[in-house]
Symmetry: C2
Amino acid sequence: MPAIVECVPNFSEGRRKEVIDKIVFSIRSVPGIKVLDVEMDPDHNRSVVTFTGSKEAVQEGAFRGARAASELIDLNKHKGQHPRMGALDVLPFVPISGVTLDDCVEIANKIGARIAKDLKIPVYLYEAAARKPERRNLENVRRGEFEGLREAILTDESRYPDYGPRMIHPTAGAVAVGARMPLIAFNVNLNSKDVAVAKEIAKNIRASNGGMPNVKALGFLLEHKGMVQVSMNLTDYTVTPISKVFEAVKKAAEDRGVEVAESEIIGLIPLDAVCDLAAKYLKIGNLGSNQVLERRIWG
Amino acid sequence: MPAIVECVPNFSEGRRKEVIDKIVFSIRSVPGIKVLDVEMDPDHNRSVVTFTGSKEAVQEGAFRGARAASELIDLNKHKGQHPRMGALDVLPFVPISGVTLDDCVEIANKIGARIAKDLKIPVYLYEAAARKPERRNLENVRRGEFEGLREAILTDESRYPDYGPRMIHPTAGAVAVGARMPLIAFNVNLNSKDVAVAKEIAKNIRASNGGMPNVKALGFLLEHKGMVQVSMNLTDYTVTPISKVFEAVKKAAEDRGVEVAESEIIGLIPLDAVCDLAAKYLKIGNLGSNQVLERRIWG
């Protein structure tokens, strides 16, 4: 079964549809690439493209997207609410099936070197691909944005890029290239109207407060439902499985005399994560996604 | 996303590979057909082919397979351990994705009528496609096999076919055409060496003893593992979900002071069944298989 890598480039253009169309067309021109989603955001003046393909195909698609963006977007003329430093602003690679996070780090390095060399754009490696600990966090990489980085990259050693020239591209800026696990947006709704319960549980389970690794969590009131919600982003389901997160929230709620009403997966979830969930609850040692009938048809 | 129907024809030939190759070639010749598996069994002198496709494609594939079998297999010369009445012996259609069991009943009727008319082979509708209650059970349809049916079909009104001539085809016999839900083979292994525990639990949960509908269950000793096993076939996971079966076995075991060690899915499982499992345990109202990332890529 073929390996699947996902690539989610963010471009600094969310208003001129003809520009995004051209960029997406250039990505799609690579055989084997499947564009799953294109989100244009006029307020942020930013677009997020999601595409998948083999290791080789996603690299070529990413390069063609980067090249098209560098030709069509001028950061000097760009304004929007979202922080940005490049025409192609961030370029993460995500392992979906038959590839590892390390494979995606390798891809980030290869394509980062190519963008730097062929397009003369400085490249910063971030998240799992970061070579310096502070660059794991995208905010540090992008500090000062296009305008600030234009100065800093010249003189501040800590802002030197991982690949490419020590000056930003005059119109296309710089790009952050990285690797990360698929993000799963998972919410658990509780039969309570007391938002303090959800906030407390969120605080206890999130990684940043010493809870479970790779869990981001916030508590909200869902007024229309008369419930509160623990809203989470799971940034590596192989380290902290969804089942473990759900059971932790459930237990924490029960400890406070509150019941779980329902939960929801927002957006897409990788097949391996669904199989892992089923396997965990049924005590199946290993439910390979290759046991899923449709995978035999499609894969 | 396209509908997927599975078709699992059983042919009365398990020794002459060249014959099965020709039959499979004729099925595969239909655009859009994917042959997932071919199992030849020399002792039973029988082969099971598993293929999938759209509603239209599986009908055409099934017809071409039936025609090839009627040209290549002579039941008068066939011997094997498995009961059989036709060159193409049984032809079940199974809804996998985007189709219902009723759709498959309709397919069984269409293709049954066509086989009867074009190939002059009598057709019996069985399982969910049966028009008479006693024909839901394949054993009743096939009673007496090729040799016995040859006589019975002429005079016994209860053995008249649903489509086609009231005489069997001289070499290809008769065929049972049906519709059923996907079968899930699910075993739960218990931390006990007392096979009586597994047999008792199996007896309590199986449909035939008044347990859960669409559950077949037997108890076994797994000598090499030092465990006992409740071995099940789930014949409609939409009526009796896997999670419900697992929890029932777990509870019955705990009531007897025994723990569940592990469970296993044997063979393939439809994506919808895996999503249903995940949804049940996490209290997700509806985890559509269209939320599975790979489905967006492949489907």
